[in-house]
């Protein structure tokens, strides 16, 4: 218990001190039984809206559950890439499976296999570089 409370009682408060590589969650479907590394058509998980209205911004000050959940999952992805953790991986896979079951992945059919990956964007001099850092297959059986 003290181990959990210690960083709370003596926080470091280093908000945004460095801007490191940024993870993005993507998903894709394939017919059941496809290889785990089969080529698929990736889609961003909960892509950002093109723009937000002023009313939308105001509303989000008090109500943004999906946005906060997305930030949490991206935080899990970041921690997963910093040092592999079975618990984090389990949580990410479970969250994507739940999103699948809740119809939060537009066009994803229950009978398909679901592929999930983390793509990392990072600065490389004056340009940005992206690479796939992690990929998992969630079989169709998990969504039934």
């Amino acid at each position: 218990m003290l181990q959990r409370l210690w960083p709370v009682l003596l926080p470091s408060w280093r908000f945004f001190d460095t801007i490191g590589p940024a993870p993005r969650l993507e998903w894709a479907c394939s017919p059941p039984g496809a290889a785990a590394d089969a080529p698929v058509r990736w889609q961003e998980f909960r892509p950002l809206p093109e723009r937000r209205s002023f009313a939308g911004v105001l509303a989000s000050l008090v109500w943004a559950p999906r946005r906060n959940e997305t930030l949490f999952l991206l935080g899990c992805a970041e921690h997963l890439l910093e040092g592999h953790s079975a618990a984090l991986e389990t949580r990410l896979v479970a969250a994507m499976r739940d999103a699948w079951l809740a119809g939060d992945l537009p066009g994803a059919a229950r009978g398909d296999d679901l592929h999930v990956r983390i793509v990392v964007t990072q600065r490389d001099g004056e340009s940005l570089r992206e690479h796939q850092a992690w990929r998992r297959l969630i079989s169709a059986g998990a969504a039934t």
Binding site: L9, W13, S60, P65, N68, L71, Q122
Partner: protein
């Protein structure tokens, strides 16, 4: 110069009302998602509302703390980083203010929270100042260009506005680094807190960090009390 002294009891009550409301809002959001932690968030919502209303704060505060620790364990850390840490720290301070037997100890617990609130701005400023990317504007460019934080795609285009972002970065640095000086004067502190609140609103609007707004606001009454009751008398000596 100081404003009228904010005494401890109204500072605690204001802070509890704001924190309880903020925690209740967080719980309602989790419950709307159908989170698997629903068995924890449903009672936590009730506890947060009771705490906000000042009903048995020693008991409701203790139970809220217990649920915070359980949720930290379930998430393997805080759900929302700094805002959960500040919320729990504030909860610890307010709970001590009800259960510690000696008035000076209660004041010390709340003063510690006030010092941490100042540190949350100042140390963040120090950490940024140590990074050349913050001093030359690259850090904010990267935040807008590719970080996970911008709330809409059109905000990514702000990454191209180098001069504006450099100025904004220096503005954030300066604000965070000089924030502790506001303790020297009551009116300056009120203005600094208004600016800080606006800063959190901007972060919420641009980066979706809404939970920080309400949790940090909940700690402000304790800082106003800290300045008027502890720092101002010291300065007058």
């Amino acid at each position: 110069m100081t404003l009228s002294v904010l005494s401890l009891a109204p500072a605690i009550r204001s802070s509890e009302a704001l924190l309880g409301s903020a925690l209740a809002l967080q719980c309602a959001q989790h419950l709307s998602l159908g989170a698997c932690e629903r068995p924890w968030y449903a009672p936590r919502l009730v506890l947060a509302l009771l705490f906000a209303c000042g009903i048995a704060p020693a008991v409701t505060g203790a139970l809220l703390l217990l649920t915070s620790v359980v949720l930290f364990a379930r998430y393997d850390g805080p759900y929302n980083g700094g805002s959960d840490r500040m919320g729990t720290l504030l909860l610890v301070g307010l709970w001590f203010a009800h259960v510690l037997p000696v008035p000076a100890w209660r004041a010390a617990a709340l003063a510690y929270v006030a010092v941490q609130l100042i540190a949350s701005y100042f140390l963040a400023g120090v950490a940024k100042a140590a990074n050349p990317a913050w001093r030359d504007g690259r850090a904010l460019r990267d935040v807008f260009a590719f970080s996970v934080y911008p709330v809409s795609r059109d905000l990514r285009a702000l990454a191209q506005r180098r001069a504006w972002l450099t100025a904004l970065g220096w503005g954030v640095l300066a604000f965070e680094l000089v924030f502790p000086l506001a303790l020297l004067d009551g009116r300056a502190l009120v203005m600094a807190l208004a600016l800080a609140f606006a800063f959190h609103l901007m972060n919420a609007a641009l980066f979706g960090l809404d939970r920080f707004v309400w949790v940090w606001l909940a700690a402000y009454p304790l800082l106003l009390w800290f300045q008027s009751a502890l720092i101002a008398p010291l300065l007058r000596r």
